[in-house]
Amino acid sequence: MAVEERDPFTGYLTTGHEWNGIKELNTPVPRAVFFFLIVTALYALVYWILMPAWPLGVTYTKGLLGIDQRKVVAESIKEAALERSVWTKRIETESFKDIQADPRLMNVVRQTGGALFGDNCAACHGPKAEGGKGFPTLVSSSWLWGGDPEAIAETIRVGINSPHKDTRVSQMMAFGRDSILKKDEIDNVADYVRSLSDPAVAKTVTAAKLEAGKAVFTANCVACHGDNAAGNPELGAPNLTDKFWLYGGDAQSVFTTVWGGRQGHMPTWDARLSPLDRKILALYLVDRRHATP
C-alpha cells in the first residue's frame, strides 16, 4: 500500500502513490482558497437576495430591489431625454429660422447630426452626404424636392416612393421599354439633355441631332422637367441643366435612364426616427450644404 515520503524541497508529505513517476504532495489547501470561496459565495448570496435569481417552477425570485433590466433601461432613456430637454424642447418647438439663427443650437445640431446621419443615411447618401449612383447628393444646391429645411424634413418623414401613406411619388417613365420613343429618338434626346449641362457635348454631335433631340424633349419631357429643363420640385423631377447627376451623365447612363425609366426609393423615417431627430437631420443637412464649397 501507499508509503508516504517527504518531499525534500517543500517538506510536505506525498500521498504515497506514484503514477508513471508522478507523485502528489498532500499539501493542505492554502487558506486563501477557502477564503475566496467563501467571499465569492457570500457575494453571490447577497446578489441572489437582491436581484432576480432563482427559478421556482412557473415563476422566479424577483429580488428585494425589484430590479428588472427592462425597467432600468426604460428609466435611463427617460432620464437621458429629460437631461437633453434643455435643448430638445427648443428644437422641437422653434421654427427652423430661429434655430438656424442661434449658434448654440446649431452647435448641438452639428454634434448630434453626425452620428444620426452616419447610422441612418450615410449608407445611401455616403459618409459625407455627397451621394452616389442612384442616391442623390445632399450637399449641393440642386434639390429634387426643394432645399429649404421644411421640405427636407418632409422628405425625410414620408420618404420617396416609400410605403408611407403620404409618400412623395416620383416616376421617370420608361420611354424605350414601354415603346413611347424609338431608339434613335432616345439617342437624340439623350445627347440633347447632356448638352444642356456640358457644352463639350455640343461639339461632338451634329447640330441636327441636337435639334431632333430638342424636339423630342419638348414633346415628351417638359411636362415634368419643365420648359427649360430646370426640373420641378412638385414632381421630384431633377434639374437637367446642372452638373449634378443622380444616375450618371455619360451617354450610356442617360440613355439607360430614358430607356428604362427610374424610380428611386427613399425610405420613410416616420416610424423609425422621432420628429426631433428628423428636424435635426434637416438642419444638419442645410448646415452641411453651407459648409460645403
Binding site: 427592462r70 433601461v73 432613456i77
Partner: protein, 245 residues
C-alpha cells in the same frame, strides 16, 4: 479532512466516479434551461406574430449558409446606447420561430434585428454586390454571386414541414403552396403573388427584390429576409415595460 477521505475512496471506483461527474455536471443546465419552458413570462405574448414566408425561409437559410451571424447580431440589448442606435430592445417572442436563433456574439457589422424596411431593395442589391461601393469603410465581403444564383425553392414544402415538426405553426395549405408562394413573392405581376398575401397577410412584401424578373435569385430571397427582420410582430414597439407583466 473528511471530504478528502471520501474522495480518496471515490477515486478508486471507476463507475462511481463517472456517475459523480455526470451528476455534478447536470445540475446547472437543468436548473437554468428547464424553467425557460415552464415560466410563462419568459416569452412575451404577441398575437400579431406571423411566420416567415417560404421565400424568407430560403433567405434565412442563405444568411445561415454564408455565416452572416459571424459578424452581425440580431439582439438589441437592454442598454441605452443600443436602444438609441438600433431601436427598441429585442424581445424573446421576436425570435420565437427562429430555429435556430441568430442572436450572435460578435458585431463586426451592425446589429440587424431592426433591419426590415430600413433601407431600400436597391440599396441592398448594391451593398451585397459590393459593400464598398456604397459604404467605403466597410469590411464586409462582397456577395455578388448571390445575384447570379437561382434560389432553390422546389423543396421549400419539406422545409416548412420540418419547421412545423419543431413547432412553427405552418398550415397544410402553406406547406402545399410553399414553392408557388416563394415564386410569387418575388413576382408581383403573376397569379402566384396573390396567394402570398392571402396566406401570410396583407403587409407581406411582394415585389421583385433584386429588380430582375424571372425565377427568384438567392439575392431575392436574402433581401426578402432582411426586409422582414424585426417586422414579424410589433410587440417590441408597444410599451412593454418588464418581463413579468
Amino acid at each position: 479532512m473528511n471530504i478528502f477521505r471520501l474522495h480518496y475512496r471515490l477515486e478508486r471506483k471507476t463507475i462511481g466516479f463517472l456517475l459523480a461527474i455526470v451528476g455534478v455536471a447536470s445540475i446547472g443546465g437543468a436548473v437554468e434551461i428547464a424553467p425557460l419552458f415552464t415560466i410563462h413570462q419568459t416569452v412575451e405574448d404577441a398575437p400579431d406574430m406571423r411566420v416567415y414566408t417560404p421565400l424568407e425561409i430560403a433567405g434565412r437559410n442563405i444568411y445561415l449558409r454564408e455565416g452572416c451571424y459571424a459578424c452581425h447580431s440580431q439582439m438589441i440589448r437592454t442598454l441605452r446606447d443600443e436602444v438609441e442606435r438600433y431601436g427598441p430592445y429585442s424581445l424573446a417572442v421576436e425570435s420565437k420561430y427562429d430555429h435556430p436563433m441568430l442572436w450572435g456574439s460578435k458585431r463586426t457589422g451592425p446589429d440587424l434585428a431592426r433591419m426590415g424596411n430600413k433601407y431600400s431593395d436597391e440599396w441592398h442589391v448594391a451593398h451585397m454586390t459590393d459593400p464598398r461601393a456604397v459604404v467605403p469603410a466597410s469590411v464586409m465581403p462582397p456577395y455578388a454571386y448571390l445575384g447570379r444564383a437561382t434560389a432553390r425553392i422546389d423543396d421549400l414544402g419539406l422545409h416548412l414541414k420540418a419547421l412545423r415538426t419543431v413547432g412553427v405553426p405552418y398550415t397544410d395549405e402553406m406547406i402545399a403552396n410553399a414553392t408557388a408562394d416563394a415564386y410569387g413573392q418575388a413576382a408581383p405581376d403573376t397569379p402566384f403573388a396573390e396567394g402570398v398575401t392571402k396566406r401570410y397577410g396583407e403587409a407581406t412584401n411582394v415585389r421583385s427584390f433584386d429588380g430582375k424578373v424571372g425565377d427568384p435569385t438567392e439575392l431575392d430571397a436574402l433581401i426578402a429576409y432582411l426586409q422582414i427582420l424585426g417586422k414579424l410582430t410589433d410587440a417590441a414597439h408597444r410599451p412593454v415595460a418588464a418581463a413579468g407583466e
